[in-house]
């Protein structure tokens, strides 16, 4: 893999970095430490700026009128847009636009017209509903929400858990059991409107990060047959492909707070004097900073390697899992060490580190727990690969 950035990639990175450092970070000084949105006027101004750069909704393919930025560049950008206080779960406060769920590109013309295109125009937003109270890591067995065919529609009963944004979304992609006897081939994806009778957000679930998630219930929720996404019974494969793909920028985004925390710790180590010498002169501190660098760089290389394979159309599930593990765990360790270097200041809300520390903890569970990623890798190692 060629690690050198192309001139076009470098230009994009420079523009994104400038926007984060010169526009986003100064605005955060006036926001609550746990805020995840900008003031409306600031948001509108920055969205206009991003559109001028040609980077709005950068993952949208060119045939749909988007910039069509490739997965390698998206992975590099994810590392940049998360380099601010709210960056892990609200990268750049979404001024780069929320790209539509990738599954919709494979939907029927009707679904594209009704959901995909309005999402690209910023008129609608969607959520993703896979996990249930019965589990999320093993959806083929855990999904208990049932859909039963009734004429031209399906009647759905059950519920979903950990659905970020479902309370504000216009629609959701939910994975439902349509054939209880068919195992993973009995799971079907539906696109549901959130104003469908029977759809309820039972509660907003408070978690470690600043942004909540939701718990949903579906009671006799009637959904038209044409709202099936992909094939009936093809939901599991659809979810699996998309989750593996999303895992790459998800991994890379973990590095932003780690890089930021490391920078703050380096500056502090150079200026803070204890017992007559700067912290930077202490070997204990030097080793922490070196370990930070090791974690950041190994995560970056793993994420770019996975993106490179995905870009070339090669199998990348193994590499995506590896990137997810290295980035989420390495970034967590880096922020932890940086807080240790900062001392009491690192624990306070005067600095963003305590927020990153809480939010990075979620990344070891979100998008598939790291233990499941290790299972995925172990299967490959034992059955297919020799290790390289």
């Amino acid at each position: 893999m060629d690690m050198k950035r192309s001139p076009e990639q470098q230009l994009i990175i420079d523009n994104v970095r400038r926007l984060i450092r010169e526009e986003i970070r100064p605005l955060e000084a006036d926001l609550d430490p746990d805020a995840f949105t900008l003031k409306p006027a600031d948001y509108e101004r920055l969205v206009a700026m991003v559109k001028d750069m040609g980077l709005y909704q950068m993952g949208v393919p060119t045939e749909y009128g988007g910039p069509g930025v490739d997965i390698i560049t998206q992975t590099m950008v994810a590392e940049e847009t998360s380099q601010h206080r709210a960056g892990l779960y609200a990268p750049a406060y979404e001024v780069f636009g929320a790209s539509p769920p990738g599954q919709l590109y494979g939907g029927s013309d009707y679904l594209k017209e009704r959901y995909l295109l309005p999402t690209m125009r910023g008129e609608k937003s969607g959520f993703f509903g896979l996990s249930e109270p019965s589990g999320g890591s093993d959806p083929a067995r855990a999904i208990q929400t049932r859909a039963v065919r009734d004429g031209d529609s399906w009647v759905i009963n059950g519920g979903k858990l950990w659905n970020s944004g479902a309370d504000t979304a216009d629609y959701g992609i939910v994975y439902v059991r349509t054939d209880p006897a068919a195992g993973r081939r009995g799971i079907t994806a539906f696109v549901i409107d959130t104003d469908t009778p029977g759809f309820e957000v039972r509660r907003l679930v408070q978690v470690l990060r600043s942004h909540y998630t939701t718990e949903l219930t579906f009671t006799d929720m009637r959904v038209p047959h044409e709202n099936i996404l992909g094939e009936e019974g093809g939901g599991f494969a659809l979810a699996n492909d998309q989750l593996s793909f999303n895992r790459i920028p998800y991994a890379s985004a973990c590095l932003g707070p780690a890089i930021n925390a490391n920078e703050i710790a380096i500056d502090w180590a150079k200026q803070r004097v204890t017992f007559g010498e700067p912290l930077a002169n202490r070997q204990a501190i030097q080793w922490m900073l070196v370990d930070n660098e090791l974690d950041i760089r190994s995560g970056r290389w793993a994420a770019l390697d996975a993106a490179d394979r995905a870009q070339r159309g090669d199998p990348f599930r193994f590499e995506a899992s590896m990137a997810k593990i290295l980035c989420s765990e390495g970034a967590g360790r880096t922020v932890d060490r940086s807080m240790q270097i900062m001392g009491g200041l690192g624990m306070s809300k005067d600095l963003p580190m305590e927020r990153w520390y809480r939010e990075l903890r979620i990344r070891r569970v979100g998008e598939g727990p790291n233990e499941v990623q290790r299972v995925v890798m172990a299967r490959d190692i034992l059955n297919v690969r020799s290790g390289s």
Binding site: D32, P33, D34, A35, F36, T37, G165, A166, D167, T168, A169, T194, D195, F199, E200, V201, R202, R203, L204, Q206, V207, L208, S210, H211, Y212, T214, K349
Partner: protein, 139 residues
């Protein structure tokens, strides 16, 4: 989920040490227990819930001798102080998302924000979502 707990009438003689200096969410009501305002004591609010409640209800005579003063006195509209009678609060480290949750619950039940939360001088919440169901006691 609304903010839990019984309404407590404001007592200006309360020992301030009984009010937590922690982060959290609070709700203010008038004499008839109608909610006027749902707020939060956040990470950059000095003195946490204690400071915010005093700032809403006003500091009693003699408080100038206390060993702390609010850095932003009068941050809330006078209309809130004039009507405020009851309060309740919840210490919660996730004050920001809990604040949004409480506002969402209220706006779903009553189809509007609490009256003082609509004041432009007050921090406006991000876009609120919908539950698609009302609380049993919502009017």
């Amino acid at each position: 989920m609304r903010i839990r707990g019984d309404w407590v009438p404001w007592d200006p003689t309360i020992d301030f040490k009984l009010l937590p200096g922690a982060m959290g969410v609070f709700e203010i009501a008038d004499e008839k227990r109608n909610t006027l305002y749902i707020g939060h004591a956040g990470g950059d609010d000095a003195f946490g819930l204690r400071g915010e409640l005093y700032n809403v209800f006003g500091f009693p005579p003699g408080s100038d001798k206390w060993n702390w003063t609010h850095p932003h006195p009068g941050a809330y509209p006078a209309a809130l102080r004039d009507q405020a009678h009851f309060y309740r609060f919840e210490v919660n480290h996730q004050y920001y998302s809990r604040w949004i949750e409480a506002l969402t619950r209220y706006s779903e039940d009553f189809e509007e924000l609490p009256p003082i939360n609509n004041d432009p001088a007050i921090e406006q919440p991000p876009k609120l979502g919908r539950y698609h169901w009302k609380s049993e006691d919502a009017s």
